[in-house]
Symmetry: C2
Subunit: 478 residues, 2 copies
């Protein structure tokens, strides 16, 4: 039993040190390993299987909304990156530069893509000529690189995986609708599959994407009260189109610039899963994206018939759920801990006595609730329990967020709420950058978004005495 104890003890409690708890879960649940390049991560099979599930769900929705996948080059010539002024200013400090190919020094250095707007724009200028060519709805699944100083697995790493959508439209209206549509797709994936409730809203001018007219965002709240930007969708206006000459002939024969959008979600979402649902026994995964939904653990598996029955159950249940079996020579207690650490939604225990009685024991990862179920009822019960886990995880995360959301009417309230109950602060804002900067300097909280669902919690800005323009969600953030 000492081995089992050790397995569990290696995890720091989240109340003691949240950052260390996160790192422990990431390592102990076999999601990630470190590589010899600073800030890069190895995504291990279990972590990658979660990513594949997120990707498959989102890819289907991206295709259902009429988008096509493409693949753009990894490298961007420096001169191309510089074509849109705001964009290069935003990204230049954090790109990796290739200066040599083989033994030759390059005439022009190449940046490793931090995002691919300029590549898509160059291509669009080549293939868009007429209103008949619009809309162009492209998406790409790829790796990108940002030269971050401090890094953490999934949350902020030198390289990450993502999808980036890039679209061209005839009118501002069409492009704005697309920007909203894709934000809603992200919100749906987060809420219905990842069981992560999100606040939908608009970024302030200060926080918007480099080169965008406006940025929409979904913001989620972690266990420690910090916010995580979970997906963004940008309306780019005609700025890139003007810089790259992406023009089409409209129905009246007149040349027009296209209106563009871009939008992305990343492997960051795995970090959100960990910090929204995880507990001191490790990861907790929502069934819809769990690589294994039910883990069968045979008890006294050396006894005759136990393993046979366990495999038979696996075969029977595999049409209902993604079922695994742990038939290794570890002790049951060790297997329980491992299955819990990996956040597998449901554990199915089966031993000689259960077989005699024609039953099994089911243990929910989220509530630790243990129930004995007749084998004949498994096919009805398991899908229902998985659905219930999915729903309860969402409800729990939502109620957690509500508990951690406070209202502040002035800076004193702002500071004391943030200190007493770290989380979202709902507060009015006049719209001035000076107030936004002041709040950040004073509290380390940033504006997360101007939510679509506006309320008026006060008449004046939380920071100055001017008239309030917007309700804003503020928080410290990852």
């Amino acid at each position: 039993m000492s081995k089992e104890k050790k397995f569990v003890e290696e995890i720091t409690a989240m109340e003691d040190d949240f950052a260390q708890w996160y790192t422990d879960v990431v390592k102990k649940a076999d999601l990630v390993d470190y590589a010899s390049v600073r800030g890069s991560m190895i995504i291990r099979p279990y972590g990658y299987a979660i990513w594949e599930n997120i990707r498959d769900v989102l890819d289907q929705k991206i295709k259902e909304t009429g988008h096509e996948n493409v693949y753009m080059p990894l490298f961007i010539p420096e001169s191309l990156l510089q074509k849109e002024k705001d964009h290069i200013e935003g990204f230049a400090p954090e790109v990796a530069w290739v200066t040599h190919g083989g033994s030759e020094e390059l005439a022009e250095r190449l940046c490793v893509r931090p995002t691919s707007e300029v590549l898509f724009c160059e291509h669009y200028a080549d293939i868009i000529h007429s209103y008949r060519d619009l809309p162009k709805l492209y998406n790409q699944w790829s790796n990108v690189v940002r030269w971050e100083k401090t890094t953490r697995p999934f949350l902020r790493s030198l390289e990450f995986l993502w999808q980036e959508g890039h679209t061209c439209h005839a009118t501002e209206e069409d492009a704005s609708e697309e920007t909203e549509r894709m934000l809603e797709v992200y919100a749906t994936v987060c809420e219905e599959y990842l069981a992560i409730p999100v606040i939908r809203g608009k970024k302030t001018e200060k926080e918007k994407f480099a080169g965008a007219n406006f940025t929409l965002t979904i913001e989620s709240l972690m266990h420690d009260g910090k916010a995580l930007q979970s997906g963004t969708s940008h309306y780019l206006g005609t700025g890139f189109a003007e810089a790259f000459g992406i023009q089409y002939t409209d129905k009246n024969g007149k040349l027009q610039y296209v209106h563009q959008t871009s939008w992305g979600i990343t492997t960051r979402l795995i970090g959100a899963l960990i910090m929204v649902h995880g507990d001191n026994r490790g990861l907790v995964l929502p069934p819809k994206i769990a690589p294994t939904q039910v883990m069968i653990v045979p008890i006294a598996q050396h006894k005759e018939g136990v393993l046979d029955k366990a495999y038979e159950l696996k075969d029977q249940l595999k049409k209902l759920a993604r079922v695994g079996i742990d038939a290794s020579d570890k002790t049951p207690g060790w297997k329980f801990s491992e299955s819990e650490m990996k956040g597998i939604p449901l554990r199915l225990e089966i031993g000689p006595k259960d077989i005699e009685k024609g039953q099994v024991v089911l243990v929910r990862r989220d509530t630790n609730e243990k129930t004995t179920v007749a084998m004949s009822e498994l096919e009805a019960k398991i899908p229902a329990i998985l659905e219930d886990i999915q729903a309860k995880l969402f409800e729990k995360a939502k109620s957690h967020r509500e508990k951690k959301t406070s209202v502040a009417k002035n800076m004193d309230e702002f500071k004391s709420r943030l200190a007493d109950n770290p989380g979202f602060i709902k507060a009015m804002w006049c719209g001035d950058l000076a107030c936004e900067n002041y709040i950040k300097d004073e509290t380390a909280a940033t504006s997360r978004c101007i939510p679509f669902e506006q309320e008026k919690v006060a008449d004046t800005c939380v920071c100055c005495e001017k008239e309030a323009k917007h309700l804003v969600y503020w928080a410290k953030a990852y």
Copy 2:
């Protein structure tokens, strides 16, 4: 009609200029566009959809054979790449180097992965300790970069997409079996899905992978008689394990080095599809990997009921096949040409007269054969025709390869066969590097493989008078 003519005329005939024909197809079938980085390609929606189909088929087989997907970093520190001597010698001349991150010069430069052996090895050294940890069967889907001087879309590009498998085993026997198993998976995907017949064999010492004990390969033959290496599987022995310290404790408590394999296929296979099946009207795709298997072209679509019926058919047939419809305002002739250029296996024409008679016209892309089929029979006929197209494409490619395969017993025969009927030359070889080099210098043909199916077409080496050791397939190659 002048527009239609133009569309078709823009393609160079393959007999006139095969390289230009290839480039024309790649561009006109909307597979690829060029980007501003020399030698890089934009894979357009149609090209990427083909890659997704190849990837999905292969990914399923990789998983069925027990492998798990992971993701390794893009960058490799120079010192790590240098750990295995043969490997670095093979790859150093063709890697891209990152020397700056943001505005800082890096203390150690990073290479953009040309392949990921060393990254996997570093990780394996970290996670493998006991015989219980073996085998480790990992795969990765990613982009890699090789700084090639002359490039062609899909065939040889600065960056390409691929999968790379990397596995560790307890014994040489296990690892050799894995090397063979994965070659056979590749051969199956090529033959059964891509309809490309392949020669399975072993590379000579000269042609093997840098750092491998031996390399297995599948080689296919293009329309112009040049060979294309279509997939390779390497047995790495314990060389990497020794360089990286990947050791496990065996059942007797003794430390042992693991035996490793690696294997990969790339977006090159799209090049093979083009050059094996294509013709002077464009691409010809095998149904199993065609993004659209049946294209419905309405005739006189402005007439009442035509478009309705066409969409109704699309809905009816979509459970049987991947069905598209071209309801654009182009002329039917133009639509025919486009559908042919894109290699869509089957065209379904439906006009007012057909509707009256309760029939449609089906046109096969491979044979151009036109048949009138009653609508009531479509659900039975279409799957059968698609299967027949798949089978016929394979047979045709195989018979083409056989026609283009000659036997040579001496160098005079070798040269005249290669000149008269460019393709594979089957000839005996003594096993000496000198002869292999001589043949390459004299004829530009290289040894493609020592086929598993050996024959004895002569007693002595085709080049010298020494005793023959192996039958070898030789060819000029991409």
